[in-house]
Amino acid sequence: MIVETQQLPFLEWLQSGPLIWLKVVGTLALAGLVLGYLVAALRNGPVAALGITRRVLFSGVADLVLISPRRVWALTRLAIQDSLRRRVVIVFVVFIVVLSFAAWFLDPGSEHPLRLYISFVLTSTSYLVLLLVLFLSALSLPNDLKAKTLHTIVTKPVRPSEIVLGRMLGFTVVGTLLLVVMGLVSYLFVNRGLAHTHEVVQADLTPVGQAQAPSGGLVPMKGFSSKSHGHRHDVLVDAQGRGRLEMAQDHTHALVCTTSGDEVAYEVGPPEGLLIARVPVYGKLRFVDRERVEKEKGINVGDEWAYRSYIEGGSLAAAIWTFDDVRPEDFPERLQIEMTLGVFRTTMGNIVEGLPGSFLIRNPKTGLTVEARIFKAKEFTTDVQYVPREIAPTNVYYLRRETIAGKEGEEPQVKYVREDADAATADKAQFDLFEDLSDNGRFEVWLQCLAPMQYFGAAQADLYLRASDASFALNFVKGYFGIWMQMVLVIAFGVMFSTFLSGPVAMIATVGALLGGLFRPFMIALATGQTAEGKVFYGGGPVESLIRILTQQNVVTEMEAGLRTTVAQTVDGVLQFLIWVMAQVLPEFGQFGSADYVAYGFNISGAWVAEHGLSTLGFFVALFVVGYFFLKTREVAR
C-alpha cells in the first residue's frame, strides 16, 4: 500500500498536535477579542468599548461554561426531528438504489476486487452522507430565522451556545444513525459481492512429472480451476488429496478431494485472504550507495512519481529498513516479510525470470551481518518472504559503521565497511534472529539487487513485517469512522457558517473551507516560499505571480529591483501571512478518509483513530465557540 505521508506515533503526536491547536485557537481568540473591541470602540467610543468587551467576554464564558445538558438534549432532539421532517431517509433509499446497480460498474475481473468494492461503498456513502449533512447544517438555522421559528426558541430560557451545540449534535446523531445503517448494508454488499467459488474437475488436472499412482491411489496433480468472477486459479493437489487454489486476485481457496471408487470429487472452499486487515510493523528506510555510503535517498530512475527510490543492482547499494522493538513473541517461528518492490530494467536481461535480490539481516550494534535469503522479485504484488528465526546463512561478515570526510563543504558521511568474521563466528552454523542479530528487538533488513545494470525501487512502506491480522469487520468500522469524522467536520463548519450567513452562502462557504483544506500543502508552500520537501517554491506571492504572468517573466529569475517590486512584495508579505493563517485553520479534509487502508487490507492503527478523533474534536470545539459568538452578534439571539 502506498503511504505518502508518515503516521506519527500517538505519543509523539500528542506532544505537538494539541500545542498547535492551542496556539491557533489562542491567536484566533485574541484576534477576535481585538477586532470586537475595535468594532465596539468605533460605535461607542474606546472607554465604553472596554466595558462592552468585558461584558461580552464574561457572558460568553458563562454561556459556554454553564451549558445545561438537559437543554442541549432538548435542542438536539429538535434538530433530529427537524431533520426527519426533511426526509433524510431519502438518502438511504438513494444509497440502496446505487448499490443495486453497482454491479454494472464494478469489474469482477479486476486484479484487486476488494479495493474496487471498498472504494465504491466508502466513496458512495461519504458522498451521500456529506451532501446530506451539508444541506441540513447549512440550511437549518437560516431557514429557522427566515420562518421565525427560531424566535419561539430564543424566547425560552436557552443560551445561544446551547442552540449552536444542539444543532451540531442533532445533525451528528442523524448522520451517525444513517452511517450505521449504511455501513451494515455495505458490509453485507462487500461480503456478498466477493463471495464466490470455483469448480475443479479432473479433466483440467494433469499429473505432476512422471508420477504413477501406486495401485489406483492419488498422485500429485496440477492444473486450473473453472472461471468465476472473471478469474481462474492454478490448482495444486498433493498425493494425499490436499490441495489449494493458488493466489489470484489477492485470494486463495482451500481444496478438499474425496474419492469414491474411480471418481474423484473436488470441493472448493470460500475465498481466503481476501477480507483481511494486516497489522504491519513498519521500519525506517535509508539507503547506501554503490560504495556503501549512507544516503537519505537512492537513485532516481526518471520516474515521474518520486515515491520510490532505486538501488543499483550488482553493486553494494542497498535499501535498509531499521525495525525497532520487534518482540520474539510476535514472531515465534519466523519473520514474515511482505514487500512490494519497483523493478526497473535498463536492459532486457532474462525476459523469463524475475530479477534476483537478497536480504541481509544486520545487527545495528555489533554490525554482524548474515545473508538471510535470495529471492526473485515480483512487481506490483505483495510478495511474501519468510526468514526463519534460526538462520543458516551462506555468507557471514561484519559491516562496520565508519565516518568519512564528506566532499568539500559537506558534512561527514557514514560508510559501511565489510570486515570478515572471525573464525568462530564464520563457522557457526546457525544464527538466532533475536539473540545474534538484534539489539534489544532492533535490527536492520538490507535489500540488495543482484542483477547488474538493473534496479530495485523501494519506499518506506514497501517492506514491513507482518505479525498478525486484525479483524476485518472492525477495520471496516474504522473506515466508516473516517467518514463519520468528515461528516462531523462538515456539520461543524455548516452550522458555524449558518449562524451569520444565509443558507446557500453558508453552504458554499462550507464547501470552500473543505476544498481549501485539499490545497493546504500548496497554500503553505505559497505562504512560506518553501515546499514540504524543503525546496524553493518559485514565483513569489500572489501579486508577484500576477506581475510575472503579465510580463511573461520566468518564475526563476529575480524581480527587477524598484518601487514596483517593493510594493508587490510588501503586499505579498501581508497576503502570504493571511494565506498562512488560513492554511493553519483549515482542516486537511482528505486526511480524515481512511478508505485506502480498508481497501488495501491494512489495519487502521489505534494511533490514527486517536489522532484524527482528537483533531476532529479540536475543530468541533473551536467551530462551536466561533459559531456561538457569531450567533450572539445577531439581534435575534440576544
Partner: protein, 688 residues
C-alpha cells in the same frame, strides 16, 4: 375573484400544453423498427435527423443501460466529468495504480462510449504503456490482452468503426508478434483459452488471428460507403492483411514448421499480395493506381513513345546526338566509367550528364511539323498522364516495399528455400544442443541450399533481409567451426555470395583506386609512396574484415588470397626500402588465424615437439634432424606470411625452438650455421 383568475390561468396553461404537444410530437417521436421485412415508422424530426446522421445509438452499437444511466446522471456535464476522470486516470497511471486506472477508464468509456479516440488512446495505453511497466512477461501479456479486450468492448458500442477493428488486428499482430518478448507472447497467445475460446487451437497464431481482424475492418469499409476515415491511408490499410499473411508464414518457419504447411502459407501470401497489387489504390493526387501494374504501364509508355517517334522519324536520335556532343570531356569519361569504379566526383558528373542528354517526349513532339504536330501534341498528353501514373505507382510501391515482398513470397515458396530454412533451423538447434557434427553437416547443407536459391534469384544477393539471414547462418557456422578449430571448407557454397558482399563493400573501391596508384608509384620507383598506399590498402582490408568477420575464417578463399597477395607485395616494397616489418601490423589477427590453420605450421610444431622428445631420450642426431625439419618448415611459413616476423607470440615460440636447437647443437659441439635459415627471426628478436 381570485378563484376565477386562477381557473383561467389553469385553462391557459392547459391550452399552451395542448398547443405544444403536436410540436413536441413532431420533433421528438421515436422511430420504431418494423416487423420482419417491413420498414418501421421513421419517427419525429429529431429521430429522422439522428438516423440520417447515423447517430442512433442502435446504429452505432449496443445500448448499455449503465452507460445511458451515467450519461443522464451527469446532467449534461458529461464532458466535464470525462475530463475530470481523464486527469484521474493519468494520475493513477503515474502512481502505477492499475486497478483504479482500469476502473476509471471503464467509467470514461461509459460516459462517452461513442468517442472512438478514447477507446483507441486508452487501449494503446493499456497494451503498450501499462504492460511495459510490469517486470513479469506474463503480466505484460495480460495487459496487452486487456488493451485488446478494451478495444473489443469499444467495438460493441461502435460496431461500424473500422478504426477500432483495425486496431484489434494491429495489437494482436504487431504487439504480440513484434515485441521483444514475442516468443513468450506468441506462446501465451496460443495457450490462452480465455481470449481465444472460439478459435481452434491450430489457428491460434497471432498473425493469423490479426489478419482476420484486418479483413473484418476491410469488409466494414467495403460494405459501408459512409466511412470517411480508417485511421491510415488506403495504401497501408489494404496492405495490412496480406502483410500479416507474410508474417504468419515467416513466423511458422521461425517456430520450426516447414514442409507443406509453410509452403501453403507462403503461396497464400504471394496470392494475396498479387491481389493487393490489383486493387485500385486512391492517391493523394486524385488518380487511382494499381501497384502490380508497373510493368504493363512501362510497356505502354514504350509503345506510346514509339508512336510519337513515328510522327517525327529519327528526331529522337538526332536530339540525343546533339546533346551528347555538348558534353565536356570529364563528363564523357564519367559516363564511360563503370558505375562501381566511379569516383564521388564522377558520380556527380555522370548524374549531370545523364540529365543533359535526356530527351523528353516534349522535345520530340516539338520537332513535328504540319498535321503531325497536332497529333503529336495530343499523344503527348497521354504520355504525360502515363508518366505521372508510373511515377506515383513507383513512389507508392516504395512505401510498402511492393517488389521486395512479391519477390520474397515467390522465393519462400520454392522447395529450395524451404529446404534452406529447414536445414539452418535444424543446424541452429543441433548447435544449441551441442551436437557439433550434426550442426556442421546441416550448416553446410543449408549453405548449399541457400546457394541454390541465390543462383535462381540473383536479385536476392543485394537484399538486406537475405543478407541478414545468410549473415546469421555464416556467423553461426563460423562459431561451430571455431569450436572444432576448423576453417570454412575450401568449396564453401556461399563463398560466391560473400565475395559479392566484399565487392559490394565501398571500401573495396578505395582498395582498387590505391592499387592503381601503387602500380604507378612502383613503376616510377617511388617505394615510399607505394608503401603509404599499401598501408592504406591493408587498413581498408581490415575494415572489410570487420564488416565480414567470417573472411578471417576463409569463408571466401578468393578474397583471402587477395589479402595475402597484398601483404606479400607490401612486404616486397618494405624489402626494397630495407625497412623491417612494422610491429603493430593491422592484419596481424587475420594472418595469425591463417597460419594457425596452415598445414606447414602444424607440421613444423609437430616436428619441434618430436625433436624435443627425442632430445630428452638422448637420441641427439634424430632430434637434430627433427629440429632441422621443423625449423625449415617454419621458414616456409615465414616466407609464405611475411608479416609473421612481426608477430611477437610466434616469434617467441620460434626463438624458444631455436634456443632449444642451439642447446642441442652445443651438446654435439656444434654451432648454428653461418647462414642459418631463421637468422632474420633471431636477429629481430635478440636485438630487442
Amino acid at each position: 375573484m381570485s378563484e376565477h383568475r386562477s381557473f383561467i390561468r389553469k385553462i391557459a396553461y392547459l391550452a399552451a400544453i395542448a398547443c405544444l404537444l403536436p410540436v413536441l410530437f413532431w420533433l421528438g417521436q421515436p422511430s420504431t423498427g418494423g416487423a420482419e421485412g417491413e420498414p418501421g415508422l421513421p419517427g419525429g424530426r429529431l429521430a429522422q435527423l439522428r438516423t440520417a446522421e447515423d447517430l442512433d445509438q442502435a446504429q452505432l452499437g449496443k445500448i448499455d443501460p449503465a452507460s445511458e444511466t451515467i450519461k443522464l446522471a451527469t446532467l449534461g456535464l458529461r464532458g466535464v466529468a470525462a475530463n475530470v476522470l481523464w486527469t484521474k486516470a493519468n494520475n493513477y497511471k503515474m502512481k502505477k495504480d492499475w486497478t483504479n486506472l482500469s476502473a476509471t477508464l471503464n467509467q470514461i468509456t461509459k460516459l462517452q462510449p461513442n468517442f472512438v479516440g478514447v477507446w483507441q488512446f486508452q487501449a494503446w495505453n493499456l497494451s503498450y504503456n501499462c504492460s511495459a511497466e510490469f517486470d513479469d512477461y506474463r503480466e505484460r501479456y495480460h495487459w496487452v490482452i486487456k488493451g485488446i479486450d478494451f478495444l473489443k468492448e469499444g467495438i460493441s458500442y461502435n460496431e461500424f468503426e473500422p478504426k477500432l477493428v483495425r486496431d484489434v488486428g494491429k495489437f494482436i499482430s504487431q504487439k504480440i508478434g513484434r515485441a521483444d518478448e514475442h516468443e513468450q507472447f506468441r506462446r501465451l497467445f496460443r495457450e490462452d483459452d480465455d481470449f481465444n475460446a472460439s478459435i481452434p487451437k491450430d489457428n491460434r497464431d497471432n498473425w493469423y488471428v490479426g489478419k482476420q481482424w484486418y479483413l473484418k475492418a476491410e469488409k466494414l469499409v467495403d460494405t459501408h460507403d459512409d466511412i470517411l476515415s480508417v485511421g491510415t491511408s488506403p495504401l497501408l490499410f489494404r496492405s495490412e492483411a496480406p502483410m500479416c499473411q507474410m508474417n504468419y508464414a515467416d513466423a511458422l518457419e521461425k517456430d520450426g514448421v516447414f514442409g507443406e504447411k509453410a509452403k501453403t502459407q507462403w503461396k497464400r501470401a504471394g496470392k494475396e499480395w498479387e491481389d493487393y497489387g490489383k486493387l485500385d489504390i486512391p492517391t493523394s493526387e486524385g488518380r487511382a493506381i494499381r501497384l502490380g501494374e508497373l510493368k504493363r504501364l512501362d510497356d505502354q509508355l514504350k509503345g506510346l513513345n514509339g508512336q510519337l517517334d513515328k510522327f517525327v522519324p529519327g528526331a529522337r536520335e538526332k536530339l540525343l546526338n546533339t546533346k551528347a556532343a555538348m558534353l565536356t570531356d570529364p563528363q564523357r569519361e564519367a559516363i564511360a566509367t563503370p558505375l562501381r569504379a566511379r569516383t564521388a566526383e564522377q558520380h556527380q558528373l555522370a548524374a549531370v550528364a545523364d540529365e543533359l542528354t535526356r530527351v523528353t517526349p516534349d522535345e520530340v513532339a516539338r520537332q513535328a511539323t504540319g498535321a503531325n504536330r497536332a497529333k503529336a501534341n495530343q499523344l503527348l498528353e497521354t504520355i504525360h498522364d502515363q508518366m505521372e501514373t508510373i511515377r506515383l505507382t513507383k513512389s507508392y510501391q516504395g512505401i510498402v516495399n511492393f517488389d521486395y515482398w512479391r519477390l520474397r513470397a515467390d522465393v519462400e515458396q520454392t522447395d529450395g528455400m524451404l529446404d534452406a530454412r529447414k536445414l539452418v533451423f535444424e543446424a541452429d538447434k543441433a548447435y544449441a544442443e551441442g551436437n557439433l557434427p550434426v550442426a556442421h553437416d546441416k550448416f553446410e547443407r543449408g549453405a548449399v541450399a541457400w546457394a541454390g536459391v541465390l543462383a535462381r534469384f540473383p536479385e536476392l544477393m543485394s537484399d538486406r533481409s537475405t543478407i541478414d539471414d545468410i549473415d546469421d547462418l555464416v556467423k553461426h557456422f563460423a562459431t561451430a567451426l571455431d569450436q572444432r578449430d576448423e576453417l570454412f571448407p575450401e568449396n564453401f557454397a556461399l563463398a560466391a555470395f560473400i565475395n559479392f558482399q566484399v565487392h559490394a563493400n565501398d571500401k573495396l573501391y578505395s582498395i582498387e583506386r590505391f592499387q592503381e596508384k601503387v602500380e604507378k608509384a612502383v613503376a616510377a620507383g617511388d617505394y615510399q609512396t607505394a608503401r603509404k598506399h599499401y598501408e592504406e590498402t591493408l587498413g581498408n582490408w581490415q575494415l572489410i574484415i570487420n564488416d565480414i568477420p567470417s573472411l578471417e575464417q576463409n569463408s571466401d578463399p578468393a578474397s583471402v588470397r587477395e589479402i595475402l597477395a597484398a601483404i606479400d607485395r607490401y612486404a616486397k616494397v618494405l624489402g626494397q626500402l630495407k625497412v623491417p616489418f612494422p610491429d603493430n601490423f593491422v592484419l596481424q589477427q587475420f594472418v595469425w588465424t591463417q597460419i594457425e590453420h596452415d598445414p606447414n605450421t602444424r607440421a613444423a610444431r609437430a616436428a619441434i615437439v618430436q625433436g624435443g622428445l627425442l632430445a630428452n631420450q638422448k637420441k641427439l642426431d634424430d632430434a637434430r634432424a627433427a629440429f632441422d625439419q621443423g625449423l625449415s618448415l617454419w621458414r616456409k611459413v615465414f616466407d609464405q606470411y611475411p608479416s609473421l616476423i612481426a608477430d611477437k607470440n610466434i616469434a617467441e615460440e620460434v626463438t624458444a625452438a631455436i634456443s632449444r636447437y642451439q642447446e642441442l647443437l652445443k651438446q654435439q659441439d656444434r654451432k648454428l650455421p653461418e647462414n642459418f635459415i631463421l637468422q632474420d627471426v633471431l636477429d629481430r628478436n635478440t636485438k630487442k
